[in-house]
């Protein structure tokens, strides 16, 4: 396996669609695999990080995603979108990670348990929203991520695929293996829950 480095084949591959590159990969082209890694690494890392909430684990899982793509390259069928295929692998591994975390979660008393996003309203209410005072970028990011993290798994994954990764509803449906109507329902509910978590942020400008 050879990753990285310049290859005359690489330039030609860059002009091809994901599906065409994957076909080349299935035929044994190592530069093709490298192209796919380069194209999808950020999206896969981002998806898994936002779903799992642990960057280090997300990197490990992302590596596993690409390893599975490579190992199963001959099973890929060009009739399907490559993005759907790789996101399905990533979503399944991410869900496995969540299940693993749940199994290994230490028993924490309800008093000690900190639910992300629970105190967002209080946090924001304490702040003076006067002119010139803006939430620090990092702080705002943390609040939004906390709201995402607080969602139940099935809503969170649908929301991340749709709003953070920009997948179409049909793609989300294929990746999660659920009907389109269920996808729409989950995403709608997830957005309403996030809206509620970020109440103070999203209501301030309403006239």
């Amino acid at each position: 396996m050879k990753l990285g480095g310049r290859d005359p084949e690489t330039e030609d591959l860059k002009a091809l669609s994901d599906e065409e590159v994957m076909v080349r990969c299935a035929q044994g082209s190592e530069p093709a695999f490298q192209i796919l890694v380069t194209r999808y690494r950020p999206r896969i890392i981002n998806l898994i990080t936002r779903f799992v909430g642990d960057f280090d684990r997300a990197e490990d899982i992302a590596q596993e995603v690409f390893i599975r793509v490579y190992r199963n390259r001959e099973r890929y069928r060009k009739s399907g979108k490559f993005s759907t295929w790789i996101f399905t692998i990533a979503a399944n591994l991410a869900k496995n990670e969540i299940r693993r975390k749940v199994r290994h979660r230490r028993v924490i008393s309800m008093d000690e348990e900190k639910e992300p996003g629970t105190n967002l309203a209080a946090t924001l209410a304490d702040r003076d929203p006067g002119p010139g005072h803006a939430l620090e970028r990092k702080e705002l990011e943390a609040l939004i991520l906390g709201a995402i993290e607080s969602l139940p798994d099935r809503y969170r994954l649908a929301l991340v695929l749709r709003d953070l990764e920009g997948l179409a509803y049909e793609e989300v449906s294929l990746v999660l293996g659920i009907p389109g109507g269920t996808v729409r329902s989950r995403i709608n509910r997830a957005r309403l829950m996030v809206k509620d978590k970020l109440e103070s942020l999203v209501r301030t400008d309403y006239l």
């Binding site: 396996m1 050879k2 990753l3 990285g4 490298q34 890694v37 690494r41 950020p42 890392i45 981002n46 990080t49 936002r50 960057f55 997300a58 990197e59 992302a62 590596q63 690409f66 390893i67 490579y70 705002l140 990011e141 939004i144 991520l145 995402i148 929301l159 709003d163 953070l164 509803y169 729409r184 329902s185 995403i187 709608n188 957005r191 309403l192 996030v194 809206k195 970020l198 109440e199 942020l201 999203v202 209501r203 400008d205 309403y206």
Partner: protein, 322 residues
């Protein structure tokens, strides 16, 4: 349209995914419901915030680590494939009677079953598999060497079942045949019948260890009844030749250290054993000496313990020489 239905369609409305009819209904509702309008406004802001969240990417070196993992896994797969080839080669040469007893007739020694056992029993499963493989090879050697004999209560593991009943031939120094019959009859297969070799069954029970309860073979449970003790899994214990226990009809307990006729525990001891029923023909003339290359596992039916002969044991006709 009521608020509940309007709220359920807010996402689709924002993203213009509703049919024209539904879109008009929601729009009409929003025009006269301030609460839903606020929700719509807040949801639009929430979606904008979600899409604003900065993206993350892998740390530098991700590709290098991926390359390393792929190479490492390639190497592991190569090693594993090599190991499995070896297991396939060994296991494919013999059916495993113990596995058959445990899992039924359909299971024979294949790499798949080896892997299944390894997964099911972990290291123990692997040990059992190797036990089977070793005995399989031994069984082949025994089958190919008819002069190899065994006393009725000394079992060469996985010895092939004889095709026809054969009376226990007159041993050189066996003691009363009744004793031998009693030892064999301790197994539940009814009268000692070489057609259903109890000794081999005893090996199966011992070799199958803790899994014997899953065995459909009635012999396993009956052995428990006979001994009123759980069978011990097969164990391999390396022993120097001078400490190898010897089991014969005159030493049915097979207790370590007890020798036939009080024979000293020294190398070079002779132990006379009965001919195994696989060979009905009396041995004529001096039998060829067969050096058994593998350690022989012996099962003491009374003790339900797998014992060993040293690799240096020489089986010659009805005599085992250490």
């Amino acid at each position: 349209m009521k608020c509940d239905k309007a709220r359920a369609n807010l996402s689709a409305y924002v993203e213009q995914e509703l049919s024209e009819k539904d879109r008009r209904e929601v729009s009409t509702h929003l025009g006269r419901c301030e609460s839903c309008s606020r929700d719509l406004f807040a949801m639009q802001k929430a979606i904008n915030l979600l899409r604003w969240v900065p993206r993350v990417d892998a740390r530098p070196g991700f590709d290098d680590r991926l390359r390393l993992r792929l190479r490492t896994e390639d190497a592991q797969r190569t090693r594993w494939a090599s190991l499995m080839d070896r297991v396939r080669e060994l296991a494919g040469r013999v059916e495993t009677p113990s596995l058959r007893a445990i899992f039924g007739e359909t299971l024979v020694a294949t790499p798949a079953s080896a892997l299944f056992l390894a997964l099911l029993f972990g290291t123990g499963g692997g040990a059992l598999l190797m036990h089977q493989v070793m005995h399989g090879e031994l069984a082949e050697r025994v089958a190919a060497t008819p002069e190899i004999m065994s006393a009725p209560n000394v079992v060469i593991a996985a010895a092939p079942a004889p095709a026809e009943p054969a009376p226990i031939a007159s041993p050189v120094d066996l003691g009363p045949a009744r004793v031998a019959t009693h030892d064999v009859a301790a197994l539940p297969s009814g009268p000692a019948s070489p057609a259903n070799p109890p000794a081999a069954d005893a090996v199966r029970v011992a070799a199958s260890g803790g899994s014997r309860n899953a065995s459909p073979a009635p012999q396993a449970a009956a052995v428990d009844q006979a001994t009123n003790r759980p069978a011990s899994p097969a164990r391999r214990v390396s022993r120097p030749a001078t400490e190898a226990p010897i089991l014969t009809a005159s030493n049915p307990s097979g207790a370590n250290g007890k020798r036939v006729g009080g024979a000293p525990r020294t190398a070079g001891s002779r132990v006379d054993v009965a001919p195994w029923a696989t060979n009905q023909q009396p041995i004529e003339g001096p039998p060829a000496v067969s050096q058994v290359e593998y350690i022989l596992d012996l099962v003491d039916v009374n003790q339900e313990r797998v014992l060993q002969l040293p690799a240096s044991a020489v089986v010659s006709g009805s005599t085992v020489t250490f």
